[in-house]
Symmetry: D3
Subunit: 214 residues, 6 copies
């Protein structure tokens, strides 16, 4: 498999795609990575409607890239994941799934830093579907919009505050519950003294594993 790993930002916010590029800069030396924006995506994926509306466009994009060696859907709701898997002939990774699985190798009980309260029940259903909810210490929301969290000054302080609450809940590893917060990963890890997983980096690492396994 010699084509690029295609990382798809399913929302149309270019700030988020740019953030993905930066978050994955070091991964380029391992394998070619192509970060693309889903033109049809909403500005941010926040509601169930946002999640469901991108499924078909994502599958169309996947179909249009027969050169890809793997795909990563870079939105924490893992929109369209089942459909993209049914469509592609190469592996497709969702960042919630990959982020959680990677966290399970870095700590005993994980905590999730969600952007918005409203997405938590959706994530809990997904963790039950994955069969791993027994290892959840807690999920707590920053209560910011995706755009705010990607741009905002106060994001790190909020991450740190909510991260400490999750540590108090028993989390010994934390997951950034959004595609757009990678630049806070390392410094939050230092602040909290616990591994912090950026889910896109986790998914791309898994994709690299597939590509390099030959």
């Amino acid at each position: 498999m010699s084509g690029p790993i295609v990382v798809i930002n399913p929302n149309s916010n270019q700030v988020v795609t740019d953030g993905l590029e930066q978050a994955l800069a070091a991964f380029h030396k391992a394998v070619e990575i192509d970060c693309v924006t889903l033109a049809e995506g909403p500005f941010g994926i926040e509601s169930q409607y946002d999640v469901d509306q991108v499924a078909l466009p994502l599958a169309a994009l996947v179909k249009s890239r027969p050169d890809a060696s793997a795909f990563v859907i870079a939105c924490y709701s893992d929109p369209g994941l089942d459909l993209c898997r049914a469509t592609a002939s190469v592996p497709v990774f969702g960042i919630q799934e990959s982020g959680v699985l990677t966290a399970l190798a870095r700590g005993d009980r994980f905590g999730v830093l969600a952007i918005a309260e409203a997405s938590i029940p959706r994530h809990l259903r997904y963790l039950r579907r994955m069969g791993v909810i027994e290892r959840l210490a807690g999920e707590r929301a920053l209560n910011m919009s995706v755009d705010e969290s990607a741009r905002g000054e106060g994001t790190f302080e909020r991450l740190s505050e909510v991260g400490q609450e999750l540590v108090a809940d028993g989390a010994d590893v934390l997951i950034l519950g959004c595609a757009g917060m990678a630049r806070h990963r390392a410094v939050l890890e230092t602040r909290l003294g616990r591994p912090v997983i950026d889910p896109t980096q986790a998914a791309v690492a898994m994709a690299i594993g597939v590509v390099l396994s030959g």
Copy 2:
């Protein structure tokens, strides 16, 4: 983190370490990888005694490599994993854990191709400990020694046969339950029409994720 990923073969069988080198050849372009043999290891890790006797030597080896950016313990029993984690200041990955977690991103229910019948109860306890046993379709043994499986002519036919039984059990992704069978991965995947995970490659991919996440 700029040091190598140190991949440790906890048995003293050089054929297995050489196999690791080959299995990881393509991964070198992503990051420096150093495959080492645990001098104190037994020729193969098959019994509970074998598992327990390597814990302290593994931790000593880990301590002796402050240059490492991550460690991989390349034996499917994940010997000494808790202790190496308590010892190292960098992440340590076990290949059973990483192989299973990676399989969960590639299929719905996984099957494990174990070397020996006797190790299956040990693996099942470990899957319960991981909290993921709900997604196990089955584990079946080749009933070969580690050495035979690493060298033997008949290994592929046996893998194919037992793999088909696991597919019949409901597995839609398979894991090679041993560090020494990577060269059969791609061809077995083709034969069975299902993803086949080499657990060492899976663990190294996760380690790369850590190293490149910055």
Copy 3:
């Protein structure tokens, strides 16, 4: 709540909608029931693409019926259920969910008669998401198309045969894993000596509970 319960057939096969009408004939005396066909639906919902493509049209239909006192999505894949719930201000029932929950009140371990092999992993993920997979005795496929199963002569014999296999798996209650097989329910129940649940009837009964609870 005085409006009708709106039962939506998300595929465009009128035979299936007619079957729903018949299956629900006796329920009309309890409350007004309106069976409608989703014009935008495919002829049968068999693939993941079929499932995902009807989510938005279903939500639009839900939005267009502010008179409804409850909705039932009459396809065993429960397509668009999360979105319809986020859209409607009245309760929305999926027939897989309702069928399974009702089966849990009629027996200890349930068996599911699926139409096609390919949908079984999708159903298993859903049962895990529901948190009730511990009570599944088994799911087995008739291996017919939705259209064949709705029309075909041989459907009952196949239901009976696969039903007996599920009883041997330990099932003491069975679920018809499709919206279009209600006319076989009573006679299959007699043949197998076990309760057989038609999932649309189960969902409509739950909807009636909401409407009559005042």
Copy 4:
């Protein structure tokens, strides 16, 4: 099946039976419903002794009603349920079981408003037996007697207070953990902004499903 659904109040408190009649008034148009009091029952079912002493009388009552098309045991402890099922040739529904199953179709994690602290461990054992405890957000007690809760002025305020605590625990649907509180259902639902399930109404709806399924 043309006979009535027989709803049995296993305690001898006529206020509770009268409340059942009122709670089910609207259900009569769907099917004939006969609310009866178990003459041998204690004044309220609060202790384990109360639960166990009514099992045989309940089964005798069930046996004496061959005209019934289904039975509902209207006490949240589901006393004598296994025995009544072994005795009757028609379906028997317990209100705890039906209330919980119905809640699972109305929200993601449910909360239970118990009457007394002492019954909570009994209910938790029952939820484990049902295999659905993963979806429990919490159970909290009003700490009133069954009689007080059925008559008392302060009941609604207490329900509202404890309901808010359950919402804070993560419950997005609530269950009235007693047969005698249906008159508070609708107003509590409005106050809390979350679906509130009266378990007797839930059980009767399931029974209606059986009767009308033909």
Copy 5:
């Protein structure tokens, strides 16, 4: 606590009580043990009715023995256990519960040798209630009456045959699912090469633990 451990045979078959005396002969040197027959019990506890009818008489018997330091209910259905616990001021052990818990310390996955097919769903519900069903390898019935199994010549051969099936299911420890088969324990253990637990002995050992803990 200086009184006897009172072991109650809840059926009125003296052969079973005599068997209990013999099974516990060696335990007398540890502590005084008093094996009693429940006069009101049926000849064998086989149906749900049998189980439920002994609850109140068992509690009465428990109440009549304030001298007891602990109680054991010696029937594998654990009849009246919750009520006896609510009644007694000393610990009460059920033999199914104690047998299963003890098996969990002797092997990884347990198999149960039930007397009759019909009791298996009741036992499975109980294992779910205990929260330990994940470790069940299987339960299979001898299909004999309690009386036959206690007397019969063919019992051992049947135990051996069904035990081998359970070993093939993955059981590495077996439980005799009845109070009256202790005399086969040791020889069956030898035949099957796996630990075999007599549940009454297991319960009495736990009771001894309480009595001697001071």
Copy 6:
């Protein structure tokens, strides 16, 4: 089986072994018990290193006692348990495992009084491995050293305080999470009004069950 039950203190602190002797004084009348100290053990088993370093010496000790009828490893981390079981031809009991299993027969949800915060994640992994974590109400640490807890004046007050927190977490039975606190068992039980399990006494009772079962 006529030899002694050999109870091994895997640390070299004689105060702890003496405490075991006292805790088991009453058990001697049931069967011969031999409490021994592992010469190679550390002064207290607190870290993962401590746990892993005693596995091989424990197995050697087990091998050197062919006269034993059963073994008990008297440290709450159950060090070397898998290896001792693989080594011995008689049953081997770990005190965490036995203590937890015994607690499951004494209450519905158990609480654990750990010595140190750092051991809690290790214990939680172990409870998941056992498949019983669903019944854990909570585990909380005294935050004392093993030596302090064995000697210290303030130990009882601390046990009482943390025990009350666990009761508030929902625990109705408590386990002393250490081999050296048996002398506080009875008085703590009285103070808290809940059964308190000394895990060594629990393990020895299970071992007595094996020895006396003949």
